[in-house]
């Protein structure tokens, strides 16, 4: 079942109508949790999936509880290492398979929402260690981790924010107009996913299928090849955007109808002037998670120990953070390229900013950023770089390379 299916949408509409008529917080919490477990049940493929999910959640909960009671650094480090190792094995990463024994990957376990569970597990463990989690009970933790509005593809909500709404379980939409807006947003999300995204994907498939034909039936002219390529080049990012932002519209608006405020995940990403800004606009909750749990600790460790090297090492921290973000997206080799491009993009943006400060000073940088013509050029250039990164998002890397070779007249 997905969030655009009739069952999911009818279920959401039916529950949202009666949810706040039901008496008492505990009844609503019970229904929310039951709905989440029910949704997860439709996603778990087999008993091995249940065992894996249970072990994953239980380990996260008990370690977080232990870290709350006694914040031991080695327990945190050991848990994070084990968690990441389990993640790499469970996700069947191609680059890990190339270097590790094959027996490690010969398992039937597929955990629903594993990629997003990982982020929430790390967040809860680190914040528990640092005394930032508050009350941690099995019920709250389970509801947070299995929240049907975030388990499969985010947005990545933080535990304290979830608990604010979970403890009250009261309406968060202030009047009839706000409720109507939420229903409209669900409808818009369905439209984005089912119509716009589907059309963009169909267009992309058609154009790229024509481009990979060689010999008889191949596109004859270079001009037409270029035109077809550009169509495929722009349509795939449009598909990803409509698909993911549409999904987010449905889950964010749907959650608000049940009194849960999920964080926004998109803020006009294609008007970003560079890749650093882009990651504060596209999949924002992932960008902020990466900033808080990857970039900040990495840069902080360097800047605390070697303050004189901090400025020059910042771009390396940006690269590492976004490279890892890229490969988190999927287990195949294309995501390594996706990660490399994103890492290079943010590192280049930081280096360019450093260059501007060195040559023009802070005041000069401010003037540069305020210049509207420069902004237009930067936005257009960054948009095309974003499209290039997403060009490597489809898992068929050979096909992506073949498309590029066709464009360059090499195939």
């Amino acid at each position: 079942m997905n969030v655009c299916s009739i069952e999911w949408l009818v279920g959401l509409l039916a529950v949202s109508v009666v949810f706040f008529v039901l008496p008492g917080t505990r009844v609503r919490q019970g229904i929310f949790l039951a709905a989440s477990v029910g949704f997860v049940a439709t996603q778990v493929p087999d008993p091995a999936g249940w065992v894996g999910l249970t072990a994953f959640l239980a380990a996260g909960f008990f370690v977080a509880r232990a870290l709350q009671r006694r914040p031991g650094r080695w327990l945190l480090v050991g848990y994070l290492v084990a968690l990441l190792a389990a993640f790499v094995v469970l996700k069947q990463y191609a680059f890990a398979k190339a270097v590790l024994p094959a027996a490690l990957f010969a398992h039937p376990i597929a955990i629903v929402g594993l990629s997003y569970l990982l982020f929430r597990q790390i967040h809860v463990a680190v914040d528990a260690f640092q005394g930032q989690i508050g009350v941690l009970t099995p019920g709250r933790y389970l509801a947070y981790q299995l929240n049907l509005f975030g388990i499969t593809a985010g947005p990545i909500q933080r535990y304290p924010q979830f608990c604010e709404d979970w403890d009250r379980m009261e309406p968060v939409l202030v009047d009839g107009e706000a409720i109507l807006r939420a229903y409209r947003r669900v409808f818009l999300g369905v439209l984005k996913v089912s119509v716009f995204a589907a059309l963009c994907l169909a267009g992309h498939e058609r154009l790229s299928a024509a481009l990979v034909v060689t010999g008889e039936g191949a596109i004859a002219s270079q001009a037409k090849t270029m035109l077809w390529f550009m169509g495929a080049f722009y349509l795939y990012p449009a598909y990803i955007y409509f698909n993911f932002s549409g999904y987010c519209d449905i889950v964010i608006a749907g959650a608000s109808l049940l009194g849960v405020r999920m964080p926004e995940n998109f803020d006009r990403p294609f008007i970003a002037r560079n890749m650093i800004e882009y990651w504060t606009r596209w999949h924002r909750t992932l960008g902020f998670w990466i900033r808080d749990y990857l970039f900040t600790p990495l840069y902080r460790a360097i800047a605390s120990r070697w303050p004189e090297r901090a400025a020059s090492m910042a771009f390396a921290c940006y690269f590492v953070a976004l490279f890892l973000t890229g490969i988190w997206h999927g287990s195949t080799w294309n995501f390594v390229i996706f990660g490399l491009l994103n890492g290079l993009g943010v590192a280049a943006a930081k280096l360019w900013e450093n260059h501007l400060i060195a040559t023009r000073g802070r005041k000069g940088l401010k003037e540069y950023l305020a210049d509207k013509r420069i902004r237009v050029v930067a936005v257009v250039a960054n948009f095309h770089f974003v499209c290039l990164t997403i060009f490597f998002f489809p898992s068929d890397l050979e096909r992506s390379i073949l498309l590029l070779r066709r464009l360059l007249g090499l195939a």
Binding site: P160, F288, R291, T296, R300
Partner: protein
């Protein structure tokens, strides 16, 4: 509190390289030239060293959220110092 405020102001001046910077409670990152994500971490490290305190990851990110200002930052430093 006044002493904490003066010391925080001194840290700001060092981090942002502006000897004439005067802090007001209502100030936000937009009001201080060069206060971006990176200098924010530099500022936190400098405050931690100066006051012998430690900020959690969640606290660092909260400080840059809308609605947060210099007044909140000074209050956090003062609370941790106690």
């Amino acid at each position: 509190m006044d002493q904490v405020r003066n010391e925080v102001e001194q840290v700001f001046r060092n981090v942002f390289g502006d000897d004439e910077l005067v802090l007001r409670d209502a100030m936000t990152a937009d009001d201080v030239e060069g206060w971006d994500s990176l200098t924010h971490i530099n500022l936190i490290i400098a405050l931690e060293k100066r006051f012998g305190i430690k900020f959690a990851t969640a606290e660092i990110s909260r400080m840059k959220e809308p609605g947060q200002n210099v007044g909140h930052l000074i209050a956090s430093v003062a609370a941790k110092r106690r």
